[in-house]
């Protein structure tokens, strides 16, 4: 139920964000001097902001940026996290101890503060945003993957593969990785909304995506500072942002209910 609802929601949003701009005759940066802070009507479907820019096109293009940041940064965190976690879990022993100690150190850093700092100084580079957020979020993934790998390593079917004379590499790729897939997909799905949230949080502080580019976070920021003049300029981007996050959280939850090994063992 959750899964279907979430997937439906995301499908609608993604389709709107990708195809929606085609139907608009406006340019996201053109300022309509006569039409500042116009409420939604048949021309400006979501109204205009206080500078007289069409919100419909801005929100959809901003959505492309927000979604892209979410997905790319999540991929960064998944790649780092899965390999790091799997290496630590599979190698075990002293290597594992050192690797996990390092994760502990990273956990103790006020990372978001460092991300903020990075963005303050290098804000003009969007790629840095991916790297910064991805570097911050891989820690959780690494821990989860490590735990799962340790658990899998002790499973009899992995021992049996060793006993059959299978090589370590083959064991990782045919026995460990396929069984990690579920967990990784679930947590990746739950990481995307986190990233989008962090991006919008940075953009809200004026540190994330820079003009002329925009994102939902930046739009919410603009909307919030002008809400007494144009409340729709806050409400629409906020609605898109919240619905997207709800969608991802629902899908993640739904997948977890379906795949979580802890839940499956109830039999």
């Amino acid at each position: 139920m959750k899964l279907k609802l979430g997937l439906g929601l995301l499908f609608i949003i993604v389709v709107m964000v990708l195809i929606g701009p085609v139907f608009s005759e406006f340019d996201p940066e053109t300022i309509h001097w006569d039409d500042m802070a116009i409420p939604p009507d048949s021309i400006y479907w979501m109204g205009t902001d206080v500078m007289g820019r069409d919100l419909y096109i801005r929100i959809l293009l901003g959505g492309q940026v927000s979604l892209m940041v979410g997905i790319v940064a999540t991929l960064v965190s998944v790649v780092i996290g899965v390999f790091y976690g799997m290496a630590a879990g599979f190698l075990g022993g002293r290597v594992d101890a050192v690797m996990m100690r390092l994760v502990d150190v990273f956990y103790a850093l006020p990372f978001l503060f460092l991300v903020i700092l990075l963005m303050v100084f290098f804000g003009q580079y969007l790629w840095l945003l991916f790297v910064a957020i991805g570097c911050y979020l891989w820690l959780d993934m690494a821990r989860i993957v490590r735990g799962q790998t340790m658990m899998l390593k002790r499973q009899a079917f992995v021992e049996a593969a060793h006993a059959l004379g299978q090589s370590n590499k083959k064991i990782i790729f045919s026995h460990v990785l396929p069984n990690l897939k579920g967990v990784v997909i679930v947590y990746a799905t739950l990481t995307i909304p986190q990233v989008i949230m962090i991006e919008s949080f940075l953009s809200f502080l004026g540190l994330g995506v820079q003009e002329p580019m925009t994102s939902w976070g930046a739009l919410v920021n603009e909307g919030a500072s002008n809400m007494d003049m144009a409340v729709w300029s806050l409400l629409f981007p906020a609605l898109f942002l919240a619905l997207t996050l709800i969608g991802f959280n629902l899908v993640g939850d739904g997948l977890r209910d379906r795949w979580d090994p802890a839940l499956q063992n109830n039999k």
Binding site: A156, L164, G165, P178, N179
Partner: protein, 573 residues
């Protein structure tokens, strides 16, 4: 029939469970009575509905998904099923109490055990804190917990399994119940501990004059405990009789099969009869084949050449403490074990949990690194092999694990699982050839080759264990270590798998090391038996000698602890 009303009267009980797909009857039209002061045994295999019956009495069937559809459970004339929750709570733990199977998880891990016992007293007998504590310590003493004053303040994880079960029993008898329900109370315990707990329960029952409903899958446990036995099969009662009659004159084919399929210490058939020999799937009785009950003639294999030599093997596990895991001490799991295994023989390794038998098996295959010692397999020093050579060697030595659920990769079909070793050791074979070989292997272990495309979760425990055996056979080994390979299976399935292992040995001349905690199983399958205790091999001899004339006191203790169904009618205690 006595005029006196029975203490507990279960009438036409039906309990159903809603699963994802359909409605399953867990208990189907079950009726029986327990008289005051008597013990009723409730016997059946997993999924037969015996535990659900017990939970129904206390109103603890999880609803949903469970639902008691009809019937009545009368306790001293009151129908418990229609009692308001509040009154039912006054009966639970007070008039009727229960001991569960898993002492490890049945106690709250974050509370001191004393408080958990005292809680019942404060609840039902309205004792104050001090009185409850004093009474708790008395109770702990009564159930045989040493130093009850000190152990009152222990947390469950600080106690052994047997002591935890004693805590559970103290909790259950705290209010001197009229009926004690024991749901497999000794299944999770070692055989020597099981013996003690059973004796404790028997004594308590006599002292308190209470009735007992004793649930078990093991007929052996119930023999000198129960007055009467109900046998359940697939949610239905198939037989009810006085205990002696169950053992001496079983009526229902299922009961007959259940009795026959359990390996016994004294008469050793060539192969075990199974439930399937007595009863068709439809429930129709069959005529069992003749089995020679004269002692299994174990061919003398002492003249055979040695296949495996284990020399002074030691496996220690470091105990690490501190931030960087400094090693402060060692757990000596295997501590200087030496023995040889002859070609074609079965060496049984027996011992209680934690004695090191599993570590020993894993160390022999180098799945676990040894601390010291040597393993010579057919003249080859196993530990001295380079990784590549070791992989070659591993096609000759295989292992079959205990847990049929964990031993197959859930994301691979049975076909893929069986193809993996084939491709590894016969890389030049075509895919089709390997597939045909996999199908052959399935037939060899008594499975349908059409099922190669299925995933492990579609099979039962016994079937999965057969698949694990097929996988081990795929590399055409000469030597297989069976590590508790039948322990997780129901007795009737266990018999089938044991027979299969014997047949395979006959056909292919396999050599086995058979590791088990169950002396009866070991006696059935092994030519020679090694007894392990605390990492050491304390006795090694032919099976007959070990069972008839044990030398080591520990072996003696183990043998004494085995509950054995009465070989002939004997007076009940």
């Amino acid at each position: 029939m006595t005029n006196q009303k029975p203490l507990l009267n279960i009438k036409n009980l039906i309990v159903e469970f809603n699963t994802e797909h359909d409605l399953v009857r867990a208990v189907d039209d079950l009726s029986f009575q327990i008289e005051a002061g008597k013990t009723m045994g409730l016997v059946g295999e997993s999924g037969s509905g015996k535990s659900v019956t017990a939970l129904s009495v206390l109103g603890l069937v999880p609803q949903p998904p469970g639902k008691i559809t009809s019937g009545a459970i009368e306790f001293r004339g009151t129908d418990l099923l229609h009692l308001p929750e509040k009154q039912l709570r006054c009966i639970r733990g007070n008039d009727i109490s229960m001991v569960f199977q898993e002492p490890m998880t049945s106690l709250n891990p974050v509370f001191r055990v004393g408080h958990q016992i005292a809680e019942v007293l404060r609840l039902h007998q309205k004792l104050n804190r001090k009185q409850a504590k004093a009474r708790t310590i008395e109770l702990m003493d009564w159930v045989g917990i040493p130093e009850p004053h000190r152990r009152y303040r222990f947390y469950p994880h600080e106690m052994s399994g047997g002591q935890k079960q004693r805590v559970m029993i103290a909790m259950a008898i705290a209010c001197q119940p009229r009926l004690l329900i024991c749901d497999e109370p000794t299944t999770a315990l070692d055989v020597t501990i099981q013996r003690q707990v059973l004796e404790l329960l028997k004594n308590l029952q006599q002292e308190l004059g209470m009735s007992m409903l004793f649930i078990t899958h093991d007929l052996g446990v119930i023999a000198d405990l129960a007055d009467e036995v109900v046998v359940m099969y697939r949610a239905k009662k198939v037989e009810q009789a006085v205990t002696q009659n169950i053992f001496n004159a079983p009526q229902h084919p299922y009961t007959k099969g259940l009795l026959a399929c359990r390996p016994k210490l004294h008469d050793n058939p060539k192969r075990l009869l199974t439930v399937g020999d007595y009863m068709a799937e439809s429930g129709v009785a069959l005529n069992p084949p003749e089995v020679s009950f004269e002692s299994q003639i174990k061919s003398d294999k002492s003249t055979q050449p040695a296949l495996l030599e284990v020399k002074n093997l030691k496996t220690y596990f470091p105990v690490k403490t501190g931030l960087w895991g400094r090693v402060t001490s060692h757990v000596k799991a295997v501590d200087g074990v030496s023995f040889t295994v002859k070609k074609g023989e079965t060496l049984g390794l027996v011992g209680e949990s934690g004695c090191g038998k599993t570590t020993l098996g894993r160390t022999i295959l180098k799945l676990q690194t040894a601390t010291a010692g040597q393993v010579i397999y057919d003249g080859i020093d196993v530990f001295a092999q380079k990784p590549q050579q070791l992989r070659q060697l591993r096609s000759r030595m295989q292992i079959i694990f205990q847990d049929p659920y964990a031993s197959l990769n859930p994301r691979m079909t049975v076909g893929q699982t069986l193809m993996e070793p084939l491709q590894l050791h016969q890389p030049h074979n075509s895919k089709q050839q390997n597939w045909n070989k996999a199908a052959e292997l399935m037939q060899q272990v008594g499975m349908n080759p059409d099922q190669l495309n299925r995933f492990p979760h579609e099979f039962s425990g016994g079937q999965r264990q057969r698949i694990s055996i097929a996988r081990a056979l795929a590399v055409e080994p000469e030597f297989i270590i069976c590590d508790e390979s039948v322990s997780a299976l129901d007795v009737s399935v266990q018999a089938q798998v044991l027979n299969l292992l014997l047949d395979l040995q006959d056909q292919m001349g396999l050599t086995y090391i058979f590791i088990s905690h169950d002396l009866s199983v070991i006696n059935f399958i092994a030519d020679r038996v090694g007894v392990m205790n605390q990492g050491k091999l304390v006795e090694l001899n032919t099976a007959d000698e070990i069972y008839r004339n044990p030398q080591n006191p520990y072996t003696q203790k183990l043998l004494d602890a085995i509950p054995e169904p009465m070989p002939e009618p004997m007076p009940k205690l």
